[in-house]
């Protein structure tokens, strides 16, 4: 499954870079950073129900001559943490364990992105986008004096909406991404919503 995801991601990268290269004339790169929060959904929420303020993104976007489309790459780091007293079913043996659990999800998505911007390039304008790629996700549970963890490469994507606000040589943006991540290893599919405030410069 992981190999199929890797091949799919590689093909997607090649395709996007090819398109990017063909329409690259008079284009420019935008580089930026973003900070935000994340709200877990579904299985992610079941594992660590945390409204996370630990969400960082670095972003590169290559915007076209008309400044209404961009292709890019972004990498993020999201940390979800929950401390709770829980009873959990033991893996592999019939039984359960209760105790104070420290539960962590560290998610490192590396995603290719495509964005379309509406309106005038030098005024605040909304945009939509899609992000696709790989998510390295580590789930970790600490209970008592032991810890269990699992790290997998997941395939997933994140549709995005937001608004940009150009200011001098910077473009500020506020965007929301809904991450839908496929199952990998023993870790089921994951979902979370991120809202980030970022700034790009060129």
């Amino acid at each position: 499954m992981m190999k199929r995801h890797a091949v799919g991601t590689a093909l997607l990268v090649a395709g996007l870079l090819s398109v990017s290269g063909r329409v690259a004339s008079a284009q420019e790169w935008l580089w930026g950073l973003a900070y935000g929060f994340a709200a877990p959904q579904g299985n992610t929420k079941d594992f660590a129900n945390d409204f996370s303020w630990r969400n960082f993104t670095v972003e590169a976007r290559r915007i076209n001559e008309n400044r209404n489309m961009s292709l890019g790459l972004n990498a993020s780091w999201n940390v979800f943490f929950e401390k709770s007293t829980r009873t959990s079913v033991l893996p592999n043996v019939p039984g359960s364990v209760t105790g104070t659990q420290y539960r962590y999800i560290n998610s490192w998505p590396i995603l290719l992105s495509a964005h379309h911007y509406f309106g005038h390039p030098y005024k605040p304008r909304p945009y939509i986008g899609i992000n696709l790629g790989g998510y390295i996700i580590e789930e970790r549970v600490e209970i008592g004096l032991v810890a269990a963890h699992e790290t997998n490469l997941h395939f997933g994507g994140a549709p995005e909406i937001g608004i940009t606000y150009p200011r001098g040589h910077q473009i500020w943006w506020l965007g929301a991404r809904y991450h839908a991540i496929m199952k990998a290893g023993n870790v089921p599919d994951q979902n979370y919503l991120t809202v980030s405030l970022g700034v790009t410069a060129h």
């Binding site: 670095v58 940390v79 104070t100 001098g168």
Partner: protein, 221 residues
């Protein structure tokens, strides 16, 4: 051109500073243990081939067995007081009664459905803690001690086992062994005896609470 490059450089410098500050606010594993009670666990294991609903009677050993005391050459074993034995056995009896079991004396010619016993062990444990690097030491944002310092810590852990054996299911070994069909394990770091015994009692209650399949009244199924 020069001012443009300077502006770009200043944006990047600010971004790097913001990014670095952000990274110092977070780690992969935020949150720290706030008390030794958080290290306590209650684990239960059961035999999936055992039909607990068919059980009715049980016998309970009248002594808490101390597992490691008296073992030759064992220097990490800690002696356990017996002043709480009765309290612990009473707790087990109360939990069994609540599940619908009837306590009987053990009779080898007419064995009960379950044989319940309680055992305990307390031992010293050791850990090495390294303090090589630290955030925000004095005015350095990230300081690494040189030479690295390591500290050995000793801690004491205690474990109470409540086990159920089914005398109707001896295996084929010679002499035959009676299988343990359920175990409740209450484990934690030892503190003052009064605090520890309350944690043991609460832990025993939790072990039964998280094992609803033991219930023979039919109410918890």
């Amino acid at each position: 051109m020069g001012s443009c490059a300077m502006r770009r450089a200043s944006i990047w410098a600010a971004s790097i500073c913001v990014g670095f500050a952000a990274l110092t606010l977070v780690s992969c594993y935020p949150g720290t243990i706030e008390s030794t009670e958080e290290l306590g666990t209650v684990t239960t294991l059961f035999d999936p081939n055992e039909d607990f609903t068919q059980n009715n009677t049980y016998s309970l050993a009248d002594t808490v067995m101390h597992i490691c005391e008296g073992l030759p050459g064992d220097n990490d074993c800690i002696a356990i007081t017996r002043i709480y034995d009765e309290e612990i056995l009473d707790k087990v009896e109360a939990e069994m009664t609540a599940l619908g079991y009837t306590r009987v004396d053990f009779d080898v010619n007419n064995p009960p459905d379950m044989v319940v016993s309680v055992s305990a062990v307390a031992r010293k444990g050791y850990a090495i803690i390294g303090s090589y690097c630290d955030w925000w030491y004095w005015y350095y944002p990230y300081y690494c001690y040189y030479p690295p310092m390591w500290t050995a810590v000793e801690y004491e852990t205690g474990t109470v086992f409540v086990t159920m054996e089914d005398p109707d299911r001896p295996d084929s070994a010679n002499p035959p062994r009676i299988p343990i069909v359920w175990t409740g394990v209450v484990n934690g770091v030892l503190s003052s005896p009064s605090v520890t015994v309350q944690r043991v009692l609460d832990g025993i209650g939790q072990a039964f609470a998280q094992s609803p399949y033991l219930d023979v009244t039919g109410e918890a199924q």
